[in-house]
Symmetry: C2
Subunit: 96 residues, 2 copies
């Protein structure tokens, strides 16, 4: 299933930038970064439990906001891209 | 239906900041801003056609990236929030 992870953090601080880098690096193990703070993660339920647990360990819950959107298995029909930086399909096909 | 609009723009330029403000203002007419560049827009098909048209007029397609995620009618079960800044349900109930 596809889980969209969106992340909001005050990246003016070095700590915030570091947390964003960690979130990005972690999510890229499961899918890919499609915008600065938007990650599309292709996971099975057990991977999702793992990823969610790790994300919550990285963020500062007092300062950062994480939102998860569960797009399911038929996620491709739920996504449209416009403009620069086309997204890449973690399953292999370019989605523009 | 719920359409998630995520927007990536170089906001270091005054023009980019202006475009982000315009995108936010427009989306807030249809739903609400849940993160800096993430907007949850509750629309019917005709409103979506209108919103999409207006968004494409605001952005610079050479520089900005827009992604639309169609979460459908049962969108509430597809969303989870963690951390700061809880999102507000455009239909009235607080989603934490």
């Amino acid at each position: 299933m596809m889980v969209l992870v969106t992340y909001d953090v005050e990246t003016k601080s070095a700590d915030g930038q570091k947390r964003l880098r960690h979130v990005a690096k972690l999510c890229e193990n499961y899918g890919q970064r499609v915008q600065n703070s938007v990650f599309e993660c292709l996971v099975d339920p057990s991977q999702w439990t793992d990823l969610r647990y790790k994300l919550l360990k990285i963020i500062d819950e007092e300062k950062d906001s994480l939102r998860f959107y569960f797009l399911g298995a038929n996620w491709k029909r739920r996504v449209e891209h416009v403009g620069a930086k086309p997204g890449y399909d973690p399953e292999g096909t370019l989605i523009i």
